[in-house]
């Protein structure tokens, strides 16, 4: 068992959760990426047989609690997106970082739409589509998160 690895993964998710619930000024708050999604995506791509939909579910529950959304909503989102990533992790791993960014963008948009569909008023979708803007920044932050977590993974030999 690689306890150090588990601790690193847990800490990275905790930091992502903490980052997600920082009180921010208006303009930044609308652009704040989904750090938990990024972190989960990295670990599920890097070590899918260790960190999978189970940890995604737990992180999602915590995210629901932290952001005050419907309990289970983020759990559902993360379980579904991580399932897609894990099912295709061999192909996605081979993609260039920018192509991976597109994959993350697709997943982030899908998760945003799912969240909108569940809790947003369906008759006013146009205005609420602004809620998808964070999906863009989430995708843009994929590269730095990827590089940071890869250096962590290599240092702690998480496989």
């Amino acid at each position: 068992m690689n306890w150090k690895g588990h601790i690193v993964v847990g800490l990275s998710l905790a930091v992502a959760l903490g980052l997600g619930s920082i009180p921010l000024a208006e303009p930044v708050a609308y652009l704040w990426p989904d750090w938990v999604l990024l972190t989960l995506a990295y670990w599920c791509l890097a070590a899918p047989h260790r960190y999978g939909v189970g940890i995604a579910f737990v992180a999602g529950i915590f995210q629901d609690v932290a952001t005050g959304t419907l309990l289970g909503l983020h759990a559902l989102i993360y379980v579904l997106t991580m399932y897609v990533l894990i099912e295709n992790h061999l192909r996605i791993r081979l993609l260039h970082l920018w192509s991976q960014t597109l994959v993350i963008l697709t997943l982030a948009v899908a998760s945003g739409l799912l969240q909108l569909w569940v809790e947003g008023p369906a008759d006013d979708l146009g205005a609420n589509l602004w809620a998808l803007v964070p999906a863009l920044t989430t995708a843009l932050f994929w590269s730095p998160v990827f590089l940071l977590l890869r250096s962590l993974r290599q240092r702690f030999a998480i496989a």
Partner: protein
């Protein structure tokens, strides 16, 4: 290998299915029942330290930036206040000057009321540079009703009299002009004499006072009313020196003018009193010529 992969994948699939169902059930429960609140509060207290630790640097940065912007704003405000203060200082000086002028004019007005004669105020607009002709030019002329021989006073006492008039200005000969002389008397001893100019702006001479007359240093000299130019009792000068030469019939008496002419800004022109215009000739004659 292929079997293993298939197994793991199907395991992931099953796990996803199960977790999805659980998530959906949780969502349903959360929107319909209250018991999920317990889960929520428990987990919330669990992630509180994480939120606290991760948020600390951000909150610190926010506090610092807020402090910095506040500092900048205070600095800016300081600058504007400094400018404002400069403006107000200038204004204050102007107001102070106005206040002084007001005081002066009020004194003049009091003097005018005390004399119970019509007066008109005038400003000094020029002073003769000639050391032997002590004259002022004032801002009142014929059009304003000034006339030759008109007495000019200030709040402190006698200044002089009008010697030349123009439509808009008039020239005033001062007591200290060598050609000036007005009839005065010593307030205490009631000794009469002629107060004549010496050409020195600070000194006057009291002429035609007998050596035996009881005039002391410090005696006040006031207009006597003789000659009918100046009303009786206006301050004119104060005796500063008395020299009695036994061989001379008159004492040498030096006096200092009551009005410091060099610091004068406003004067009063005394209009005709109750006397008729016939007295005007006498008034002119009252000006002592050598």
């Amino acid at each position: 290998m292929g079997f293993h992969t298939a197994t793991r994948q199907s395991r992931t699939g099953i796990a996803t299915l199960v977790l999805t169902v659980i998530a959906l059930l949780l969502m349903g429960a959360d929107s319909h029942f209250a018991w999920t609140q317990h889960i929520r509060s428990t987990l919330l207290s669990a992630i509180y330290p994480v939120q606290r630790v991760v948020g600390a640097p951000v909150l610190l940065a926010q506090a610092v930036s807020q402090e910095a912007s506040e500092h900048f704003r205070v600095h800016q405000r300081n600058e504007t206040l400094r400018k404002k203060l400069g403006q107000l200082r200038v204004e204050n000086q102007e107001l102070e000057a106005l206040r002084r002028e007001n005081d002066r004019l009020r004194e003049l007005l009091n003097e005018a009321q005390r004399l119970k004669r019509e007066v008109s105020a005038a400003q000094i607009i020029a002073e003769s540079p000639d050391p032997f002709h002590h004259t002022l030019t004032i801002s009142r002329g014929q059009l304003h009703g000034a006339f030759l021989g008109q007495p000019v006073i200030s709040a402190e006492g006698v200044v002089g009299q009008v010697t030349a008039i123009a439509p808009m200005t008039a020239q005033v000969i001062l007591l200290t002009d060598p050609n000036s002389g007005i009839p005065v008397l010593a307030r205490e001893s009631r000794v009469r004499g002629i107060l004549a100019g010496t050409g020195n702006k600070d000194l006057l001479e009291l002429r035609y006072v007998p050596t035996s007359a009881n005039v002391q240093v410090g005696d006040e000299l006031v207009t006597s009313g003789l000659g009918a130019v100046f009303p009786k009792g206006l301050q004119a000068a104060r005796v500063v020196k008395v020299v009695r030469d036994p061989h001379s019939p008159f004492a040498e008496i030096t006096a200092r003018p009551a009005v410091p002419v060099s610091r004068l800004e406003d004067v009063l022109l005394l209009d005709l009193g109750d006397e008729g215009p016939g007295d005007q000739a006498a008034r002119r004659a009252g000006r002592e010529a050598p």
